[in-house]
């Protein structure tokens, strides 16, 4: 992240150059999303069909990675059970920033058909990790996957990297001061 540090210092307050740089960085991130496929249940099969020739998920520039370290977003496809929940959390924490989460299907959105009597089903993956895009359906159709992917790209494209960094720095500095005081 040394590149970013050098970039935001001289242009305090932003500007055209910075805006363009930001656009470029966002473009890179949104067009090249490598994903960790967290295949859990039925939706994973539909996602396999999505990956296959007919729908070709790689058109969006996505590449499946099997190691969470190299993934940009995690695709939670299926029912999250309590036994699995802690593993999802660990894998999410292993991913490198910036990272995103797509929750696929009713089960990982809200527990789905298992919401009432599922004593071993976590009612929504958003109870343990932050979710960026929800794809509804049981299982979602491939078109829904496409829409979800486009929504994620849209979200990444709208991110304000430099403002966010400034805000974080501000928070960090106030935290330091409060630490000193105490």
């Amino acid at each position: 992240m040394g590149l970013l540090n050098r970039l935001d210092d001289p242009y305090e307050g932003g500007g055209i150059v910075l805006g363009k740089v930001e656009e470029l960085l966002n473009w890179g991130r949104s067009k090249s999303d490598w994903y960790l496929h967290f295949g859990l249940a039925c939706c994973a099969i539909e996602f396999m069909a999505m990956n296959a020739s007919h729908f070709d998920f790689m058109r969006f520039g996505t590449i499946p990675r099997t190691s969470p370290r190299q993934a940009d977003f995690i695709m939670v496809t299926g029912t999250v059970t309590f036994k699995m929940a802690e593993r999802i959390k660990i894998l999410y924490e292993q991913m490198a920033e910036p990272k995103y989460v797509i929750s696929v299907g009713s089960c990982s959105n809200s527990g789905g058909p298992y919401w009432e009597h599922g004593y071993h089903v976590l009612k929504g993956v958003d109870r343990i990790i932050p979710v960026d895009v929800y794809i509804p359906g049981c299982p979602p159709r491939p078109e829904a996957f496409e829409e979800g992917m486009m929504q994620l790209q849209k979200k990444i494209n709208q991110q304000a990297i430099f403002n966010k960094r400034k805000r974080i720095e501000l928070e960090d500095s106030t935290k330091d001061e409060s630490n000193k005081e105490s």
Binding site: A41, E46, A49, T81, K83, Y114, H117, H120, V121
Partner: protein, 383 residues
């Protein structure tokens, strides 16, 4: 090739440290969320301990809380690759208890959709098995063909994967015009692709080297572990409920039961388990062709569907031939509209239990192939 090659465990006396590796629950080739705790000595597997339950969705609890019609969608979500086949034993069990004779046309529709789904299931099984061996391209060829089957089933039922199409005493909807032509086109395409995959993957010498003589399951062990489906037939036991206990209209069709013959490798190894699936696709094609020819043109598929299902007191165990093996439902009724207890005998659950037995002494890479050749679906293992 004939003799059984098992890695010589003698040189473990070299006293190297053993390493315990966790394969799963999130791993590219556990076909879901299975976790295998593997102890390896260098590259050789010395112990496998499966840990299940990462997809335990409380299926049996739901059955006790819901009424009989509402259970069908949950059954779809058990073995989600072959949902049509899953629904069948359940509705048959209820029809047996209610003493319903379903119309002839319904029986034929059931046979056709079940066989179509069997083809789709085996396509995934063979494709992912190839992928475990590192061949990615056959996977996509099979998925291309599977799309055609999926679209037929979608036009029938309205869903791509989890159909909810069977009803007690009938079907949710009648077939659409042009259904026969679509099925015949699929049959044609399946045969064409199978011929191609035979050359590209099944008889590829690297693939044979990898999968033949690996993970040998003898018939005695297979029966003792109550294996069924292609896993049992790959070991040379011609056990197929469609012929042994003909249900529905299966006694009217002419088809063979492919078993592992050991053309390559020995009977009961991964290659033979896999080839059984490829041959079964061909047999399913034959059944579909005959069923399409025999199917009556007229008939109301919804005529026998009861308004409200209330079972008499009693219990029934019904099993049919799922693509993965015998799928059984044990239903205990207490006379109300909800079952007292329902137990699903998951095919994959039983077939998977054999893995610690057949994977010891092989290489770590073989373990992945053995797992792939058993063709499990975790939804059915954990329920």
């Amino acid at each position: 090739m004939g003799e059984i090659k098992r890695m010589d465990l003698e040189y473990s006396q070299l006293d190297s440290d053993r390493m315990r590796i966790n394969v799963g629950p999130q791993h590219p080739s556990t076909h879901g969320v299975l976790r295998l705790e593997v102890e390896v000595d260098g590259e050789i597997v010395t112990e496998v301990v499966p840990h299940l339950g990462y997809l335990h969705r409380s299926f049996e609890k739901h059955c006790e809380k819901l009424n009989y019609q509402q259970i069908i969608p949950f059954i779809d979500r058990m073995d989600y690759i072959s949902a049509m086949n899953n629904e069948w034993p359940y509705v048959m069990a209820l029809e047996k208890m209610l003493d319903i004779k379903v119309p002839e046309k319904v029986e034929y529709i059931r046979v056709i959709v079940a066989e179509l789904n069997r083809i789709a299931n085996h396509q995934i099984a063979v494709a992912t098995f190839g992928m475990d061996a590192g061949a990615f391209t056959p996977f996509l060829y099979y998925f291309r063909d599977r799309e055609a089957i999926i679209s037929i089933l979608e036009r029938l039922s309205g869903a791509r994967l989890l159909y909810n199409y069977f009803r007690v005493g009938g079907m949710a909807a009648d077939i659409y015009p042009g259904f026969k032509d679509d099925c015949l086109n699929v049959v044609k395409q399946v045969r064409k692709t199978n011929a191609e995959i035979m050359k590209l993957l099944i008889h590829n010498s690297i693939f044979i080297k990898r999968s033949a003589n690996v993970g040998i399951l003898t018939p005695e062990v297979a029966i003792n572990y109550a294996c069924s489906g292609p896993v049992l037939r790959g070991s040379g036991v011609a056990h197929d409920l469609r012929r042994d206990e003909p249900y529905s209209v299966y006694d009217r069709f002419d088809f063979e039961i492919p078993v592992g013959k050991g053309d390559v490798g020995v009977v009961g190894d991964c290659w033979n388990r896999n080839i059984v699936r490829v041959h079964e696709m061909e047999q399913s094609c034959r059944i579909i062709e005959q069923a399409l020819a025999q199917m009556p043109e007229t008939g109301d598929v919804k005529a026998m569907i009861p308004k409200r299902i209330k079972l008499p007191k009693g219990e029934v165990y019904m099993r049919t031939e799922n693509p993965k093996g015998d799928l059984g439902f044990y239903i205990v009724s207490n006379g109300t509209d909800k079952p007292e207890r329902m137990k699903a005998r998951g095919t994959s659950f039983v077939n998977l239990s054999v893995i610690p037995e057949i994977s010891k002494g092989y290489m770590f890479a073989d373990l992945i192939l053995i797992l792939g050749s058993i063709d499990i679906v975790l939804g059915e293992v954990d329920r």
